[in-house]
Symmetry: D2
Amino acid sequence: MIRIGIVGAGRIARVHAKTVDAHLDAELVFIADPVEDAVKPLAEKYGIRYSLNPDDVFTDAEVDAVIICSPTPLHVEHILKAAKAGKPALCEKPVAMETETVEDLVKKLENLDHKTMLGFNRRFDPTFARMHDMVKAGVVGNVEQVTIISRDPAAPPKEYIAVSGGIFKDMTIHDFDTARFFLGDITSVYAVGQNLDPDLKDTGDFDAAVITLANSQGATATITNSRHCSSGYDQRLEVFGDKATLNGENMRPTQVRVSNGEYTDAKDVYLDFFLERYAQAYALELNEFFAAIKENRQPATSIADGAKALRIAEAAEESARTGKIVYL
Amino acid sequence: MIRIGIVGAGRIARVHAKTVDAHLDAELVFIADPVEDAVKPLAEKYGIRYSLNPDDVFTDAEVDAVIICSPTPLHVEHILKAAKAGKPALCEKPVAMETETVEDLVKKLENLDHKTMLGFNRRFDPTFARMHDMVKAGVVGNVEQVTIISRDPAAPPKEYIAVSGGIFKDMTIHDFDTARFFLGDITSVYAVGQNLDPDLKDTGDFDAAVITLANSQGATATITNSRHCSSGYDQRLEVFGDKATLNGENMRPTQVRVSNGEYTDAKDVYLDFFLERYAQAYALELNEFFAAIKENRQPATSIADGAKALRIAEAAEESARTGKIVYL
Amino acid sequence: MIRIGIVGAGRIARVHAKTVDAHLDAELVFIADPVEDAVKPLAEKYGIRYSLNPDDVFTDAEVDAVIICSPTPLHVEHILKAAKAGKPALCEKPVAMETETVEDLVKKLENLDHKTMLGFNRRFDPTFARMHDMVKAGVVGNVEQVTIISRDPAAPPKEYIAVSGGIFKDMTIHDFDTARFFLGDITSVYAVGQNLDPDLKDTGDFDAAVITLANSQGATATITNSRHCSSGYDQRLEVFGDKATLNGENMRPTQVRVSNGEYTDAKDVYLDFFLERYAQAYALELNEFFAAIKENRQPATSIADGAKALRIAEAAEESARTGKIVYL
Amino acid sequence: MIRIGIVGAGRIARVHAKTVDAHLDAELVFIADPVEDAVKPLAEKYGIRYSLNPDDVFTDAEVDAVIICSPTPLHVEHILKAAKAGKPALCEKPVAMETETVEDLVKKLENLDHKTMLGFNRRFDPTFARMHDMVKAGVVGNVEQVTIISRDPAAPPKEYIAVSGGIFKDMTIHDFDTARFFLGDITSVYAVGQNLDPDLKDTGDFDAAVITLANSQGATATITNSRHCSSGYDQRLEVFGDKATLNGENMRPTQVRVSNGEYTDAKDVYLDFFLERYAQAYALELNEFFAAIKENRQPATSIADGAKALRIAEAAEESARTGKIVYL
């Protein structure tokens, strides 16, 4: 049994706590967060110890591995503390808001005997993971064109947008990682930012975007983002190769289809948002973390993956602002 | 070029005339119908000769083959006249309203050197024909359960129902032939007749029905009929075997799917009725008729097929009236 | 918090234990089973007390409500013990193998102040439940024809079949309850039993069946069962009314679609079997059980529902054996 | 009846001849082509006059309107001859290979009392036309993002590519028109050309491309093209707006779905190529041409539309060659 400590007691901490609690290979033993109203009920729910000092997670003798759910500005510090303490760590994305900071962290980690995983959970979504497996198995042949459509159900509050780092770092970052998942390293970025929602005009951020990526072999990925979608959280992926085309479709709460005098075979609107749509991905991400610990190897998604996705996000922002292609 | 004469100038005659006119292997040369207002415009449209005497089709020297689109009570007579004249004939279904009449015709035809095809057009529908080809090719393995859902968009006028011969002979007859197409000869029939539409209660006919058929190997077919369907002409077929399941889906006028805040991927309502839904089937039925003539063989669907479907229809009526299983 | 005791420590007990453990309104406190190798590990996993005497569940002072997962022959005894102890009980189906036994139990319960739920879990499946809600909301209009296709992925061992009570009580029983869920009480039953699998010929049981049910208003349900299906656990439901048609489709492990030179938009095979397909249904069934306890009312599915489904199963067996329609 | 003359007797001439022949509002009277082996059989098939001098179509007194199916280099000359002769003309695309030539033609036509239609047939495809109608009806709200996936089943011969004008003028030109159909005038173009097929490397042309267009309101269209697709002719269109999303799906020869031990609900591969996929579009395009003549108005697609699509194609070529965004 891997004994898990969690730092941070917010929404995503609750998601992970529930999964750890039900997991056969792990048990939740400790949680730390300076906000007592958040951490205490969670500790009581699972009958575990807690602390108001986040650092206690890294020093606690019973904690074998750490899940970092603290606020983004603390991620780098917490990743390093876990690494120095010799405790494997899973950190929620983003690592930080600037590529330089993350690249600097990558260098520091190189000198440490660490096991650090970045929570790019979508790679563990059963649909996307199956598509990746099929690509690896040669089903698709050469991957030539990846098409990602990724739209949120509704825009977040303006206050959130103001501190989000912009649409490319906040929202598209996942799609950049998906593009890298299928195409490897990206060499050119062209982005068109859109301002379509009059309510969001004054945020200074784009509310939609279309991005074209290419890798060194000339394969492309197009990403279409929007902060709103009338049918819910629209998450689709197409991988086109010379032998086959794979499509990852949206998920819905039921399998009901309705036919009447107006339309036929109408399905449910999509699962509302990421906690529902990617519920399985969050759980399977933990599987990979625990497996890496047991097998004494690096987990599948690294801090370096975070740095590379962030670098593409910065290139996209530059491209959308200047109207020029940015080469990496 | 096979020179075609048509007897009858109603709706289905117009469908066939158009197909013959466009066909590379056939040409329309003659049409006969006692109603001048029907036959004359059609003859003029295609620039062909016409007569008000139906019998002229069978004696005309330039007519190589006949398509019989006359009213049902004349079918037997016209089939025999074509056979005696040595002209291949395609007759629209039904041959007649009683099995005995059709079985008597089958016997008479046995003594004639004839080529007679019955217009069970659905066998030529590209979807159903492909399913049948796949069954023949062994894709499905042993056919174990056939499920037919067949619903009209709306009930016909009561006057039509009164002379229709009842739902089993008028509507289910096609489904009985489809069942025979996949299961061969049927040995038992159980039918539940339904009276669901209050407007049709006093017709003395059922407005919906569920029928269970079995063949001598124990394979089954279930047929679900209704005189109405909110989404249009609902025509589905499932063939289940030990190796695979085949589904024939409905057809729609376009490939549009609509997603909004209420539903997603909603498709069009179905093609409205048989002339639209089975437009290709009518044309491909003629292909088979012409091919049989050119290859000097019997066409794929015979008068005997009509007799057997009619026999099942009579058994279904008896079963629904008595609440007993009828064995054939 | 409702404190739950479970009697029985087999497969379904483990499913329920996991759900109870994760539930906000309930906590697992006790488990009893005479097989120590089964009950002890389960008790240890959840850190709860256990006993080798099943009866202890009904007398334990800390147990507020009981989930009965004991073998079928003990169900009646355990239901009565829970009722007499004043503890609400959820019993897995079937209650017993004969209608008389269950009807006798129903009568005995009438004299007790009890809260007893029967585990007809499919009523709580999100897809079927949504369809039922839509029917109640009038979306479908009058329900006229229900079509149930229900096929297992592969036949169980012959030893299982020998003690299963036959296909109608073992497999179709769920579909009979689904038919009742949408049509209410059934008045006539016609069943065709099939023996298609040569390996199962000598079991004396049917390996497939087609059943036609009708209610007193003349609405019908057709059920198509098979002990095997090449694509997995095939569970479909269509509810046809005069205003709309609802279809409940199969579930698959991912949303991937594959297109290549042979076919397009091919989806995964179905979720393999009932524990996967109805995982949500098992959890939502417990929600209803806990809600009934909290709201001090009878749960949605009763022992009487079990008796009625069993009565239909016996009628189906009789019909399939005699070739006659059985009226209830 | 509109009496039609056709200039050119190649493949597309045969498509149009067949449609005109079956049309209620038009009749085919004359065809001209210098190649006697092409024009004579076609004239005989329809029983019409023919000439080996293309110009005769424009002077023939019985010809009311002309369909121009001559080779591309003759299009401008033939359009002007029809216009000067006062005969409405439908010209197959492309008008010419250079924008300047077409813009020059547009100016010349301004001084003539003409009725000239350009054969952008996809606008008349039932699926795309319905989507356009729904946009006009406000169903979609503001159109924000258009996604076009357009892939040929297999690359044409190298000899064809050599004279094709390049992928953007030859293949994407249709997609540029579709983008304009939904977004109006385009203001910026960014194209990534791909060379993925080793067999086509030495053609000097791209064999795949991803293009991002934007209009003056900031709405975007992305076009993904490939000269090959394993599943056939892949033609999809998504129109995303703030109220709804519309998807136009591929067409298949049948409605069969296959489920077995490997996959479920697999559909047919797509209709092979443009003559099959857009068969209805070709016929409905003629409807519009005849309607414009009868209603004495300009047809829906003009030579100016051709000039604008060609201008985008040239911008795409420039962008793909220079790696820069081109503003129109």
